[in-house]
C-alpha cells in the first residue's frame, strides 16, 4: 500500500486503471461500439453516444461506428456505453474518452485559461450528473414511459424468457442508482423543474456566444449537444421534456449550429 500514500500516486494509478496514459498517435481504426440506434438504444445511452461521436468529430478524429446488441455488456465497465476500441485500448464513457484523446494530444480545451477550465469542468459535471439522471428517471422510473417505450425497446433484442429477465435486472439497477442519489422519490414535476434549472444555468452561461467558450467548440459543447439533441429528437410519450429544452432559444440555436457544422446530412 506504500504506493498509495501520496495523492499523485492515486492519480497515476487511476490513469493506469483506465488506460488513458498511453502515449502516441490516435490509432487508425478506432471503433465506437454502441447499441442499435433505431430499435434498441434508450435516451440516456443515446445522449452519451451522441456526445462522444460529436466530440470525436470536433477533434477531427477518425472512427467507425459499430452497433452491437450487447454493447452494454461488452463495455469494459459493464453497463457504460458507448466505449471505444483504439488499438488495444478500451475506454468507456464520455470523460475517460476525452482524457484518452487528450493523452494522445487531441484536446479541445487547451487554449482555455484557468477560470474557463473551471467553468468547463463544473458545467460538464452539471450535465453529467443532473441532466443524465433526469434522462434515466424519465426512461426507467416513469411508469408509463417504461411500459410503452423503454421495455419494448430494451427487450427487443432478446428471446422470450430473457426479455423480461434482462429488462427487470436493468431496471432494478437503474432504480437503485436513482434511489441512492435521492432521485427516485422525486415527482415528475420536480424532475422537470430540475431540468429547467439546468437549462437556465446553461442558457445563462451560453448567453449569445457562438459556443460556450466563444469561437471554438469544446468538450462541453459536445456534451451539451449530445444530451439536448437527443432529448429534442427522441420521441417520448409527451413532448414535455423536449418542450422544456426548446424553451431556451440559444440552446436550440447551439444544437442547430453544431448539427449543421458537424452532421450536415441530418435535419433537426
Amino acid at each position: 500500500m506504500a504506493d498509495f500514500k501520496t495523492s499523485s500516486s492515486i492519480l497515476t494509478k487511476e490513469c493506469l486503471r483506465t488506460q488513458i496514459c498511453g502515449e502516441g498517435e490516435w490509432p487508425k481504426n478506432t471503433v465506437i461500439y454502441q447499441p442499435y440506434e433505431t430499435e434498441q438504444i434508450l435516451l440516456p445511452d443515446n445522449s452519451k453516444c451522441l456526445s462522444v461521436k460529436t466530440f470525436l468529430k470536433m477533434a477531427g478524429l477518425e472512427f467507425i461506428v459499430e452497433a452491437r446488441e450487447n454493447a452494454e455488456y461488452m463495455s469494459p465497465h459493464r453497463g457504460k456505453v458507448p466505449f471505444i476500441k483504439a488499438g488495444q485500448f478500451l475506454v468507456a464513457d464520455f470523460e475517460p474518452i476525452v482524457s484518452f484523446a487528450q493523452s494522445k494530444g487531441y484536446s479541445l480545451s487547451t487554449s482555455l485559461d484557468e477560470t474557463q477550465k473551471w467553468d468547463l469542468r463544473v458545467y460538464m459535471a452539471l450535465v453529467n450528473n443532473v441532466l443524465l439522471n433526469a434522462e434515466i428517471y424519465v426512461t426507467w422510473n416513469h411508469e408509463l414511459t417504461y411500459k410503452e417505450l423503454t421495455k419494448p425497446r430494451y427487450s427487443s433484442v432478446y428471446p422470450f424468457p430473457l426479455n423480461h429477465w434482462a429488462t427487470y435486472n436493468k431496471r432494478r439497477e437503474m432504480l437503485s442508482h436513482l434511489d441512492v442519489l435521492g432521485w427516485k422519490k422525486k415527482s415528475l414535476d420536480e424532475v422537470f423543474k430540475e431540468v429547467e434549472r439546468i437549462c437556465e444555468s446553461l442558457s445563462n452561461f451560453l448567453g449569445d456566444k457562438k459556443y460556450f467558450f466563444y469561437e471554438k467548440p469544446t468538450e462541453l459543447d459536445a456534451l451539451v449537444f449530445g444530451h439536448l439533441f437527443s432529448i429534442i429528437t427522441t420521441p417520448l410519450l409527451n413532448n414535455r421534456f423536449a418542450a422544456t429544452v426548446r424553451a431556451y432559444d440559444n440552446l436550440v440555436q447551439l444544437c442547430v449550429r453544431i448539427e449543421t457544422e458537424f452532421y450536415q446530412s441530418r435535419i433537426l
Binding site: 463495455s75 465497465h77 441512492v180 446553461l202
Partner: protein
C-alpha cells in the same frame, strides 16, 4: 405578540472544532449561519425520531424540511438567501459547481469514513457509538455503514474490486479539490467577500475531510497541501462558528496539558511490570493447583510418622 418562527435543527454534535461532524448537518448549520436565519440547534445525537434515520432533522413552523431545495425555498420566502447579489451567470456557475461537488466529494467522504476498513473500525464507528445512547449505539453505526456501502456499490457498480473503486473515487475527489483550490485562489470566499451556498456545501464536505482524525488519511494529506482551502475552512469556522472554535481551542490546550501530566505520572496499575508480575503469579498459582489435582505434588503428614519412629 408576533413571534417569528425559528428553524429547529436536530444535529450531531461537533468535534475537532467543527460545529457538527456530519456533512449534512454541517451544511444546514453553515447555511443558517451565512444567512443569519433564526435557528435553534439541538445537539440531540439521536436519529431515533427522524423519519429517514438520519440527522439533521430540520423543521420550520412544525413542517419538516427534507432536503436542500426545500430549505432554500423556506428561507427564500423569508427573504433570507446567501446568494443575494449574485448575477445570473454566477448563480449558474454556483449551481453547476454544487452539482460537481455533490457528485465527487460525497462518495469520497463516504468511502473514507465507512468503506476504508481501518477508518471505519477505529474512528467512525467508535465515534458514533460514543455519541449515541445505549440501545441505539448498536444499531445506527452498522446501519450507516450498510447504507454508505450500498450507495458506493450502486454508484460504482461497473467496477469490481474495492481497490478500483477507491482509486476512482479518490482520484475524482483529488481532482475536484484541485480545481476548488485554484478557483478559490486568494479570495475570502468563492464569490468575493460573502459566503454563499457554494461555500456552505463545499465547507460541509471539506471540513470533516480536513479535521477528522482518520487513521488512513490519504485525502486529508492531499487536502492539507491545498493551502487556500485550509485557510478558507479555518476562516469559516472562526467567523461563523466562534463558540465551537473556541471550545475546540480550549479542549486542545486541556488535552495537551493532560497528556503532559500523564507523561510524567503513570499509575502503578498501568505499568507494564505490574502486568507481567500479575500474569506470572496467576500462572504459578494455576500450575500449582493443577499439580495438586493430578497428584504430582502430595502433602502427607510425614511429621507424625517421624514422631512415632
Amino acid at each position: 405578540m408576533f413571534k417569528p418562527h425559528q428553524l429547529e435543527v436536530d444535529t450531531w454534535k461537533g468535534d475537532w472544532g467543527l460545529p457538527s461532524i456530519d456533512y449534512k448537518c454541517l451544511e444546514v448549520l453553515a447555511f443558517a449561519r451565512f444567512t443569519n436565519a433564526p435557528i435553534n440547534i439541538y445537539h440531540s445525537n439521536n436519529p431515533y425520531r427522524s423519519v429517514t434515520g438520519h440527522l439533521p432533522v430540520v423543521s420550520y413552523n412544525k413542517r419538516l424540511l427534507m432536503d436542500r431545495d426545500s430549505l432554500m425555498d423556506c428561507l427564500e420566502k423569508q427573504n433570507l438567501t446567501p446568494d443575494f447579489g449574485l448575477t445570473s451567470l454566477q448563480l449558474a456557475e454556483e449551481h453547476a459547481a454544487i452539482s460537481m461537488i455533490d457528485a465527487q466529494l460525497e462518495p469520497a467522504l463516504l468511502f473514507a469514513w465507512w468503506m476504508d476498513e481501518s477508518n471505519c473500525l477505529n474512528f467512525t464507528k467508535p465515534w458514533y457509538r460514543n455519541a449515541l445512547k445505549f440501545p441505539f449505539n448498536w444499531y445506527y453505526p452498522n446501519a450507516y455503514e450498510r447504507e454508505a456501502k450500498h450507495k458506493i456499490y450502486t454508484l460504482y457498480n461497473h467496477l469490481d474490486s474495492d481497490n478500483d473503486i477507491m482509486t476512482e473515487v479518490y482520484a475524482e475527489a483529488i481532482k475536484c479539490m484541485n480545481v476548488l483550490e485554484s478557483r478559490l485562489g486568494n479570495n475570502f470566499y468563492f464569490f468575493g467577500s460573502h459566503p454563499t451556498l457554494l461555500d456552505a456545501v463545499a465547507y460541509s464536505y471539506l471540513g470533516p475531510l480536513l479535521k477528522a482524525p482518520l487513521t488512513d488519511n490519504r485525502l486529508q494529506s492531499h487536502l492539507k497541501t491545498c493551502k487556500n482551502l485550509c485557510i478558507w475552512i479555518d476562516r469559516i469556522t472562526r467567523e461563523y462558528f466562534k463558540i465551537d472554535w473556541q471550545a475546540h481551542k480550549c479542549n486542545e490546550k486541556k488535552k495537551l496539558e493532560e497528556t503532559k501530566q500523564q507523561m510524567n505520572v503513570t499509575p502503578w496499575y498501568k505499568r507494564d511490570e505490574t502486568k507481567n508480575v500479575l500474569i506470572g503469579i496467576v500462572t504459578v498459582i494455576t500450575m500449582v493447583v493443577y499439580s495438586f489435582k493430578i497428584g504430582l505434588i502430595s502433602v502427607s503428614d510425614t511429621s507424625d510418622e517421624e514422631d512415632e519412629d
